[in-house]
Symmetry: C2
Subunit: 337 residues, 2 copies
DNA sequence: GCGGCATTTTGTAGCGCTACAATTTTTACG
DNA sequence: CGTAAAAATTGTAGCGCTACAAAATGCCGC
């Protein structure tokens, strides 16, 4: 109306200022800290913003303030659904403070973690949560506060560690099965830090109780297929097994396949317990007893630590373990006979 | 070495230029179009970049060039794994052209799509793929080229539509079951565009064949729980049903729960077919026959269309349907008796 | 060796925003 | 009503990069 600004250009802070009859600085101030502006001007600016459909340019803000109010989250694979709880936990803390989360996956198997981190750093994220196995090349945390979530190996120097207590979860599973009277117990494990801790916690408790434990697939993958293969081996070589602890729910699903193929009944003949308390475990069809690693709490804690380090330069807090909980459903039962 | 630059600051293009003995403009040129720079300078610049650990500032680049070489992808819920294939399909096309994908979910149930879009637009994405039910408020595509993927209702004006041929997929499922001799067939449906098209395609084919179709849950959700409830109703009110088509694999899992509870056997007494060909369908335990909607192809196509519109200002291409395929596994069998 | 042309390199002027000091307005109170 | 202090507002100078015109250099044949 005032003049012929090309229609395609998005409105800038100057357009808003002109419209509201104030200086650009004032508009900026309204955007950042409305309380410090008199009500009269604040309303005028807000009105101009809505009328023009103004949207601040993230790029310009980032450049000028060297803060983006965003946290980068690196996950290993979108298909590993545990990150969803982690993300929700983070967001529950971050949105209140006006932060947003930027997600990047590290292309499973391609070791592209550093690439994902690079991308996020290029976007000027204020902090980083790494929820994937840190690569050897990341010896030192990049220039921003960093938290490693859910993994314990290769934590870069200067990074905090907040992770599920996988030892404790393994011990819980063992405790549960022992309490039901099982003594010949199989464990479907896999390669990687989390699996190793679950295995260790599980084994420790069984050893203390003098139970007979058979571990399979310590060096293998953790997919449904791997669970199936490991369970087949287990059931064929130790047919007297009465309970199976799978390192995750997906592997437990694989175990069900092997059990079904052998005509065994769950839980009357064999008990199964998984890990992750995924939607799979919650389904009516499986009703899988599972350990819930409370990734939501890991996310919350990670966000809190990060915010503290970003906003007040708090020092690294070291390592924090989040206690898991056991969710008992229909796939575990007292020892038959 | 040359002077006392604070250690905390990340190196800029000026630092690189000084180090390499060239002008900042030349460094910028190397970054964008190395071919136009003489080999001598190019090598010098590259050396300086690696030595200083220089990483371009996305914010500054975006601001100065008003391009970010990034595409925003809005999904409805990270737990709906179909987006993973979509994403991979997009990336397979985009990475070659140097584009990256930024993901945002629209907080299921909260109708926060516009919020997600706002966030991405603030980041100056060059294009947008919306893989969620567009809200009514998004009548017109935002300032950037937009593609709606996988939904057919409420496509904003000016946006392209690239979607799975859900009608065709439904018809495929019907064709498969009819071919096996089934005539009393249940369908677990749900609210939403995709489910409606699967239902329509399925119903059309059954009607043509004169088969008896029972639809449940047209207005309900599409979770495992919903599938369970709908299947329960179906089996209790139409006990003569010999085949079930679920609108997605998760609902099929729910159906398994209901079938199991009633002591029926799959596939000898009742056939089940799902949709999505998810990891669930592929598992050994379920071996679920399922329609694969080829979301990877949708992603590829969406990326191509977007690139064409971004790079050469090509006009909107309208709508494109991607043909699904049927994957037959162990849960469908000829009509018993 | 030199004009004429193509190729390579560089200076200048922003992109849209914020930080911060400087300025103006308001408020408090003798 | 005056004046100091507090509160509100504004101007200036970048943030790190790119676009583009202008300048410098290289190359060619004669």
């Amino acid at each position: 109306m005032t003049h012929d600004r090309p229609k395609t250009r998005r409105p800038t802070i100057y357009d808003v200022a002109k419209q509201a009859g104030v200086s650009p600085s004032l508009v900026s101030l309204v955007l950042q800290n409305p309380v410090r502006v008199s009500e009269k001007r604040r309303d005028a600016v807000q009105a101009a913003i809505t009328e023009l459909g103004y949207r601040p340019s993230q790029a310009a803000t980032a450049l000028a303030s060297s803060r983006t109010k965003s946290i980068g989250l690196v996950i290993d694979d979108y298909r590993n659904l545990w990150f969803v709880d982690l993300l929700r936990g983070m967001e529950s803390v971050l949105t209140e403070e006006g932060y947003r989360v930027m997600l990047a996956d590290s292309r499973p198997g391609e070791n592209r973690i550093s690439e994902a981190v690079d991308g996020l750093l290029a976007m000027h994220v204020d902090g980083l949560v790494i929820a994937a196995e840190p690569s050897a090349s990341m010896l030192t945390a990049a220039g921003v506060p960093t938290v490693v979530a859910g993994w314990r190996n290769g934590v870069p120097a200067g990074a905090d560690l907040i992770t599920n207590d996988d030892d404790g979860g393994g011990a819980m599973a063992a405790h549960h099965l022992l309490g039901l009277g099982h003594t010949r117990i199989g464990h479907l494990s896999g390669f990687g830090g989390a699996a190793a801790h679950r295995r260790a916690g599980f084994a420790g408790r069984l050893r203390d109780a003098g139970a007979d434990m058979r571990v399979v697939g310590e060096a293998g993958g953790t997919s449904e297929e791997d669970g199936y293969a490991s369970a087949c081996w287990l059931l064929d070589h130790h047919p007297d097994t009465t309970a199976i602890f799978a390192a995750n729910d997906t592997m437990a699903l694989g175990a069900f396949g092997a059990i079904k193929a052998r005509g065994l009944a769950v839980p009357s003949q064999i008990s199964v317990i998984g890990y992750d308390n995924s939607t799979l475990a919650k389904s009516r069809y499986l009703e899988l007893t599972s350990v819930d690693n409370r990734s939501d709490l890991v996310g919350k804690e990670a966000a809190k630590v990060l915010l503290a380090r970003i906003e007040s330069g708090a020092p690294s807090s070291g390592r924090t373990l989040i206690a898991p909980t056991l969710v008992v459903r229909g796939t575990t039962a007292p020892l038959p006979g």
